[in-house]
């Protein structure tokens, strides 16, 4: 979907003048205009990769803070140009860290973060969108940009024109943003739900994160954007603290979960789920969040309890116990690939082996649409019933997933994600402890 820009040219203001300006903006009694009674969305939008690519002249567009195909293409070019391993995922946290060390300045670039709004989000008519846009120039003083918008009426009888919102952008070095964070509570109406969308890596700028992501604000994070450990730890902590959290990486697992469930929908296979003996999951690279979430989801749905975790060179092995006391081995393997998907740690394939006490072994192999999984197809399959499925790529950008969360707002975490994230974190901790 094409991004929608604010209808009004943003007004640049000193940060301390924003609150008064907004109060005046909506004080027009009798004219029938009012701020929409929907929700507030606060976005931490560092877009480090986009900014560095623009700085180095590898991205000719304005910086918009959106994960668009042109950004991914530019990132792939940068991976080649700066000699990074071809297995580097374009949107991984590694690339901007490397680019940050590269000299070069292609001159100034347009920064439209917070002003280019995904149509599907603007259609939800947010009451207020506040974008915190830290710049790569850490010394840059803070600017505040304010713009109001009203949805255009479809015809003369439509009431659309009376529903309005505003867009605020605080742009500057992260330190200057942190200094002005005290402004935020006054800008977030307490009677409306508020979402905090953290589009950066978890574990980065933790001071700002802690101050922004306070309950009852609802949190949207993406555990694919940072390192495995802080991402899962923070996710699990927030859930344990009863905060409503959505993880966009969890949504990306939708196709895998659906395909695995479908393999066991047939009535004659359902009983085999009680007799799983081995699970293998291959993931791209060494960002393990998605793989651990998938593994933990399977384990929790099948009521397995975690016994041990062991980290090896390119894999982790976990031992679970089924409700009937039998042991299950689950192996998570990092596989380098030549053309990785945009997000780090994407699932490549899954194999699940069931050994019912009577009857043939059942082997379910799921392969990603864009990748083969020959490694998982190996072994002695002649004595097994083999079910193979291709898992389609999840359609939809990050913004589409965000819209899904915002459109159907919940003030609690999805119980499936809650259980899964806690177990995934425990698995990671168990494997790390074995190394120590």
């Amino acid at each position: 979907m094409a991004p929608q820009f604010t209808l009004q040219a943003p007004l640049k203001l000193p940060p301390h003048a924003v609150t008064d300006h907004l109060t005046r903006l909506w004080e027009h009694p009798g004219e029938g205009y009012n701020g929409s009674a929907t929700f507030t969305l606060v976005v931490w939008e560092p877009a480090w990769l986009e900014q560095h690519l623009a700085r180095l002249g590898l991205l000719q567009d304005a910086v918009m803070g959106m994960q668009r195909p042109r950004l991914v293409d530019a990132a792939r070019r940068a991976i080649g140009a700066y000699g990074l391993p071809s297995a580097t995922a374009p949107l991984s946290s590694t690339l901007p860290q490397v680019l940050a060390t590269q000299p070069g300045d292609n001159g100034s670039f347009d920064d439209l973060r917070g002003q280019a709004i995904e149509t599907s989000i603007s259609e939800l008519q947010p009451h207020r969108m506040i974008t915190l846009a830290p710049t790569i120039d850490v010394e840059q003083p803070l600017d505040a940009l304010v713009a109001a918008y009203c949805s255009l009426p479809e015809d003369d009888n439509s009431p659309g024109g009376s529903v309005c919102g505003d867009v605020l952008v605080f742009r500057g070095g992260a330190a200057s943003i942190a200094t002005e964070l005290d402004l935020l509570p006054r800008l977030i109406p307490s009677q409306l739900p508020c979402w905090v969308l953290w589009e950066g890596a978890l574990g980065e700028h933790t001071d700002i994160f802690e101050r922004l992501a306070t309950a009852p604000r609802r949190l949207i994070v993406d555990t694919a954007l940072g390192e495995t450990e802080p991402s899962l730890r923070i996710l699990a902590q927030r859930i344990a603290a009863s905060q409503a959290v959505s993880d966009l990486n969890w949504y990306r697992l939708g196709g895998w979960r659906e395909s695995l469930a479908r393999a066991f929908d047939a009535q004659d296979r359902r009983a085999a789920l009680s007799h799983v003996v081995q699970v293998d999951i291959d993931v791209e690279g060494d960002q393990l969040c998605q793989g651990l979430l998938l593994a933990a989801w399977i384990a929790s749905r099948l009521q397995w309890s975690l016994h041990t975790g062991r980290r090896q060179r390119d894999s982790s092995v976990y031992r679970f116990q089924r409700p009937d006391g039998f042991k299950v081995d689950l192996r998570l393997v990092s596989v380098p690939v030549g053309f990785p998907k945009p997000h780090a740690g994407s699932i490549l394939g899954l194999r699940l082996l069931c050994r019912p006490p009577e009857g043939r072994e059942l082997c379910v192999v799921l392969c990603g649409e864009a990748s083969g999984c020959m490694r998982l197809e190996g072994g002695d399959i002649s004595s097994r019933t083999l079910v193979e499925e291709i898992v389609p790529l999840i359609d939809g950008s990050l913004e589409v997933q965000e819209t899904r969360v915002l459109a159907g707002g919940h003030d609690t975490t999805n119980p499936l994600l809650a259980t899964t994230a806690q177990l995934a974190h425990r698995m990671l901790t168990a494997a790390a402890a074995s190394q120590a």
Binding site: F264, Q267, R301, G409
Partner: protein, 507 residues
């Protein structure tokens, strides 16, 4: 049927659309439908996390209840559900509110509008409102007028009106009601609910037909010889005598549920899967449908009324002995009708519709019988060679069966029929939702695909107008033939098919 294991990996996997924040306003909130269907359906949506946290139900009725009484009453009536999910109910019930409202009192509507503003603020429901008229059909028109008069339907995008069946009592009254309702809001704001369309298997008729290339080439007069659509109930009139005496089986079941199944079975493929395309095709096929003999409808329509029956242990009272039924009632509890559809696809193919109470079995199905093979090469192992049949089972044991001939084992070349069976229960790892869950969700999402448009309603009434008029003008030609409770209806109904050399299915 044996209970089947559910698939634990299925839980929470439905890629369903989440209902945006909104307030559902139920008029008639103290009535049966609210606690039997609506609140359970909403609670199920809540358990499935398909309701946003910014959600509210405002119950409205004349009784002077408070929010607390409404919550308590619903909790008592849904006791087993509440006991199974106490925490979830606690959370859900915080979104239940109540306002005493008589839609005929203008000051009540002023108060209602204020209360809605208050609920909007309290629950952040964003001004999205769905008004559900769960009141006597006599108040549909005046209720819609009252809401429109109070400006509550003015926002075309964010306010919707749901109307239960029956929508009118005949063609003229349906037209009149449509005129009233359309003067109160746009067609896209009006949701005429027919809970049969909420059934997974009814929707599956479309998927079977239009997602598979094997059926559509056969789905026409060249290959199908007849179609039977059945909705049989084993229960009698129960507590609904006062309503049923006025409606009878024709208005209660045929004009809406069976006609919707007919439309889905016979419609042309829509150009796109979007509401208006589908509703256009349904309306077109209903406009092309006619009674087999509109001039003499009694020759193509059989009415019946159940007499006593059952067993010594479980005797069943006759309809006329049911509480609230007139001792000389001529209301039909059974109807069988023969129809034709005058279009290229179905010209000459008879469609037989039947429904009744206290029949031998509870079932709803669509059965398509294919033409005989042009040359009979093989003898049948038993009796005659049976025609191929495709049966879509709406309820119970939802699924589909295809019956065809195969070689009977042995040295000869004799054929016998076998069935290829698809069962929802066996194929999918989770049970289907109750119809109201789907329909309420679609209403609140503003998706009208499964709701009946005004021209469909009118076409359906027009189809049966010759019967209704003949009933008024020549009731003696339309007796309600008695049948024993617990059987498959009156003998006259069998004769209707026997004249065409056919038999009703006895599944």
């Amino acid at each position: 049927m044996a209970a089947t294991l559910t698939n634990p990996l299925r839980v929470g996997l439905r890629q369903e659309r989440v209902i945006p924040p909104q307030c559902l306003i139920i008029f008639g909130a103290s009535g049966d439908l609210t606690h039997r269907k609506l609140i359970p359906a909403l609670f199920e949506l809540f358990l499935q996390r398909r309701l946003s946290s910014e959600f509210a139900v405002l119950g409205c009725a004349r009784r002077p209840w408070t929010d607390q009484v409404f919550r308590q009453t619903m909790a008592e009536r849904l006791q087993s559900t509440v006991t199974a999910h106490p925490q979830a109910w606690e959370q859900f019930s915080q979104g239940l509110f109540y306002e005493p409202v008589d839609l005929q009192q203008s000051e009540h509507l002023v108060r209602l509008a204020q209360r809605l503003e208050q609920v909007d603020r309290q629950r952040a429901t964003r001004g999205e409102r769905t008004f559900y008229l769960s009141v006597s059909p006599a108040y549909y028109g005046s209720g819609a007028r009252a809401l429109a008069g109070a400006g509550l339907l003015a926002d075309r995008q964010r306010s919707r009106l749901v109307i239960e069946k029956p929508f009118g009592t005949d063609y003229a009254s349906a037209q009149q009601l449509n005129r009233v309702v359309k003067s109160c809001g746009q067609e896209n704001q009006i949701f005429r609910i027919d809970h049969y369309l909420g059934k997974e298997t009814v929707q599956n008729i479309m998927v079977l037909r239009f997602a598979n290339s094997i059926f559509e080439p056969l789905w026409n007069r060249n290959h199908i010889s007849s179609v039977q659509i059945t909705a049989a109930e084993t229960v009698g009139v129960e507590q609904r005598a006062s309503y049923y005496e006025q409606s009878g089986a024709l208005k209660d079941m045929v004009q809406n549920h069976l006609t919707q199944m007919l439309a889905l079975t016979a419609m042309e493929p829509p150009g796109r899967f979007e509401p208006e395309s589908i509703r256009n095709e349904k309306a077109k096929v209903l406009q092309a449908a006619r009674l087999a003999s509109p001039e003499q409808p009694w020759t193509c329509c059989v009415r019946g009324q159940y007499g006593s029956g059952g067993t010594a242990e479980h005797p069943l009272a006759s309809y006329r002995h049911e509480p609230g039924v007139a001792p000389d009632s001529t209301t039909e509890t059974y109807v069988a009708i023969k129809l034709f559809i005058d279009n290229w696809r179905w010209q000459g193919v008879p469609f037989y519709l039947r429904t009744g109470k206290h029949l031998a079995k509870r079932l709803s199905e669509v059965a398509l019988t294919f033409r005989d093979a042009p040359v009979r090469l093989f003898d049948a192992a038993a009796g005659g060679v049976s025609a191929n049949q495709f049966v879509i089972r709406i309820q119970p044991d939802e699924g589909a069966t295809f019956r065809f001939e195969v070689k009977a084992p042995g040295s000869g070349m004799r054929s016998r029929p076998i069935s290829m069976d698809f069962s929802y229960d066996e194929s999918f790892g989770e049970p289907s939702d109750e119809g109201y869950v789907r329909l309420l969700a679609d209403t609140m999402l503003g998706d009208p695909t499964l709701f009946t448009r005004s021209d469909e309603v009118e076409a359906a009434w027009r189809l049966y107008t010759p019967i209704l008029e003949a009933l008024k003008q020549s009731p003696d030609k339309f007796p309600a033939h008695p049948y024993e409770a617990g059987t498959w209806g009156p003998a006259e109904s069998d004769e209707l098919l026997a004249r065409d050399g056919l038999l009703w299915r006895r599944p």
